[in-house]
Amino acid sequence: MKKMVKFGLAALMGASMLVGCSSSKPAAEETASKTDAEQVVENGKLVVGVTDFAPMDYKDENGNWIGFDADLATAFAKDLGIDVEIIEIDWDNKILELNNKSVDCIWNGMTLTDEVKSSMECSNAYCNNAQVVIVNKDVADKYKDTESLKDLTFAVEAGSAGEEQAIAYELNYTAVQNQANALMEVAAGTSDAAIIDSLMAAAMVGEGTGYEQLTYTVGLNAEEYGVGFRKGSDLAAKLNDFFKKCYEDGTLKEIAEKYGVQASLIEMK
C-alpha cells in the first residue's frame, strides 16, 4: 500500500512538472507577438554584448565601458528612450547569447561575414576594416606582398575573417582562440605571422603598445563592421535610421574622432 502511495506521489510530481512547463508557453508566445524593438523598450534597457576590444569597446580606469562602439550604443539606447547595459560575453557564443535573449545586440567591431549575415539581423556597415598580416619588425621587409607569405606559418582566430583570408590565400595556418592569442603566438615565436583586424592592429601593435616588436605589413582584403541583432529584429532598421541621423548631424564623426577611428568611418546615405 505504502509503495502505491509513493508511486502515486511521484507520478503527481512528474505531472505537475509537465504542467509547469506547458503553462510557461503562452507567456513565451505573448512576448513573441511583440516586435523586438517593442520588447526591448518595454524591458527599459538595451543589452549590448561586447568583448574587451580597444578602441571599440573597453573599460576606463573606473571600470566603465567606453570606446567607439560603446559610446554609439549608449547614444542609440538614449535615442530609443531607454538605458544601455553593456555585458562582456564569450565571442564564440555571440549567436547563442543573442538567441538566448541574454543580450539584444552584438556591437563590438564585428566584421560582416557571410556567416554573421546569415545568422543575425545586421545593420548597415558603419566602419571600414581590413585583414592585415602581423610579423616581427626585423623581418617585415621580406614580406611585402601576398606571394611572399607562402612559406610562413600563421596563427588566426578560429572562425574569424582572418581565417577566411588564410584559407583563400592557401596559407599554412593554425586556428587559435582569439585575435589576441594569435598575436601572442607571433610574439612568442610559435607562429611566424598572424592575420588580424587592421583597427585592432593599429591599437595593439607597434610603438607604445604591448607588442612593440611586431608590425603589420600586407593588407589582405577590405571589409566592413556592422551591428548584429536577433534574426528578424526590427531594431536593425531603427539603428540604420539612427546612423543616418547621426552621420548628418556630425555626432558619428565626433565620437569617431574621440577614439581615432574617423578615417575608417563609412558614409551613411
Binding site: A28, T31, T51, D52, Y58, I87, E88, N100, S102, L183
Partner: protein, 228 residues
Amino acid sequence: METFLQQLPTVLHALNIGFLQTLKLFIATLVGAIPLGLLICFGSTSKYKIISGFFNIIIWIVRGTPLMIQLLIIYYFPGLVLHNPVWGGSETGRFMASALAFIVNYACYFSEIFRGGIQGISVGQDEAGLVLGMSKVEIFVHVKLLQMIKRILPPMSNEILTLVKDTSLARIIALQEVIWAGQSFMKGSQGISGEIWPLFFTAFYYLVCNGILTVVLNRLEKKLEFFR
C-alpha cells in the same frame, strides 16, 4: 620592471574582483550542495526501488557528463529552446545559472561520499539503537551523523579543494571569475595587452585559498579524532 610595478595595481584590482566571484561561487556551491547531497544520498539509498532508481539515474547523468556542458545547458537551454530566458544577461543571472549547475553537480558527488560514510557504519549500531527504543531519525542524528562526518572528511576535503579550482569552468558562460580576469590582460584590457603574468598570478590566489582551506580542514579532522 618599472612597467610591471605600474601595471601591478591595475591587475591586482581586476584579479581581486574576479576572485570575489570565484569565492562567491565556491561558497554558494558548498552551502547548496551539502544539504542537497544528503537529500540525494537518502533518495539513492531508499528501500523503494522507484525512488532509489530515480536518484541513481540522476547521479549517473550528472556524474557522467562534463560540468562544462551542464553549465552551457543550464544557461542557454531556457532561452534557446523554451524561449523563456529566465537567467537574463547580467552578471547576476550568469552567477545564478553557474551556482545551480555547480550545486547539482557537486551534490551528486557529495551524495556518493555521504553514502559511503553512512553505509560504513556497522548495522549493529542501528540494531542497538532500535533495541533502546530510538527512532530511525534519532539514530541517524544522535548516533551515526558525527561518525559519518568523521569518516567523510578526508574525501570531502578532496572535493572541496577541487571545487575551488573547478569554479573557473563558469567562464564558459562568461562569468567573470579570476581566470577570466587574468586572461583579459592577454587579450588586452585597460591598456595592458599581451601579458601572461597576470594569468600566472591567478594561480597564487588559488594556492593561498586552498592553503587556508587545507589548514582549516586538517584542524577539523584533528578535532574529530577524539573518537574512532
